[in-house]
Amino acid sequence: MTQGWTITTLKTALEGAFEEDEATLLTLEGGDALQVRFPDHGELEVTVTVAGEQLLASTLLWPRASQAAPANFEEHALRIHKFLPLSTFGITTVDGEDWYELFGALSANATLEDVVMELQLLAQNAVDVAEANAAA
């Protein structure tokens, strides 16, 4: 890939790369984003966008409003996120509501293997983080 992924080429490539039943792929309205749903991770959804040289993959964790002592959690997230392979914590606003998100940014020229690994790790990390936070 020299000119980088587009949502269309990425969807086709991922359809061949994932094992059957591992993930379902859906192009979102407008064709600017791809939704990857992981049945084995409780139907977790990862959204993928491509713009210029960047490929972004993001999954929502939980609403910031539902977090007890958000400032503590956010400091904690900043301290631990280097121990989460390839994934980064963020706060994003969806329809006026703040959500914690876990995301990964890749080069639009990343290999298919890199993208698949990013998506699998993101899904695994997101559920692990939700479980650890629920237990805390």
Binding site: L28, G42, T47, T59, L60, T93, D98
Partner: protein, 235 residues
């Protein structure tokens, strides 16, 4: 001011209630302005560069002319000396001296132009890098915008269809529910395997009481008989 500094300033100044992404709303506007500034600066620097290079060319041509004059006049000095025309030779030599002075002056002017050209070229390179950075930052912001739009669309779809969001917290809930359901299924399967009940249940049904169970009546009987009830954990 750099893009990041502007973002931090924007976030600090704005009311960030409900995480109103002040940064995102301003980012494209800030970047567009920066891009215009950098492009304008580059246009000016390139115009200046062209003008200075034109002037340098003229100065070089003038220097070339002076060098030709020098050679010509020096030949004349030698010719005059050869003919014993000392006074004439001296007058021409004075002219040569003046040509030399002008030549040094012109060399100085050219050196100054070279310095200006070097610094303008460096400014153009800086601006080219800046334009490249802004372009990349714009793409990053646009990638994020596309992401926010897509997530909002997904959220709206979930709200419309009454299904819960594919967030990590919701997914964890579903995983737990699935695990519970699976546990229940396994337990039910175990019971079925035991043909309708546990071993103790079947023994009780058959009137065969578990010998390890001491009933209240047994204890009372023991107490009335003056004996000690057996101690816990001992037979």
């Amino acid at each position: 001011m750099s893009f990041l500094k502007k973002l931090f300033t924007a976030a600090k100044g704005a009311v960030t209630e409900a995480g109103e992404a002040a940064a995102d709303a301003n980012a494209i506007r800030i970047l567009d302005q920066e891009l215009r500034d950098a492009e304008t600066a580059n246009g000016k620097a390139k115009d200046q560069l062209a003008a200075i290079m034109g002037k340098k060319k003229i100065a070089e041509q003038k220097l070339e002319g002076l060098r030709a004059d020098y050679d010509r006049r020096m030949a004349q000095v030698r010719a005059a000396l050869d003919k014993g025309e000392e006074d004439l030779a001296r007058d021409v030599a004075k002219a040569v001296s003046e040509i030399e002075r002008q030549g040094r002056e012109e060399e100085g002017v050219i050196a100054t132009y070279d310095e200006t050209i070097a610094s303008l070229r460096s400014a153009v390179r800086d601006n080219d890098r800046k334009i490249e950075t802004i372009r990349r930052e714009t793409e990053t912001v646009k990638a994020n915008e596309a992401m926010v739009k897509a997530q909002a669309a997904v959220a709206a779809e979930h709200a419309g269809s009454n299904s819960s969001l594919g967030s990590a917290a919701e997914s964890l809930k579903r995983i737990k529910e699935r695990q519970e359901a699976q546990k229940a299924r396994i337990a039910a399967a175990d019971e079925l395997a035991l043909d309708g009940g546990s071993l103790d249940d079947r023994l009780a049904q058959a009137g065969i009481a578990d010998q390890s169970d001491t009933s209240a009546d047994d204890i009372l009987a023991l107490a009335r008989g003056g004996g000690e009830p057996k101690k816990l954990g001992q037979d």
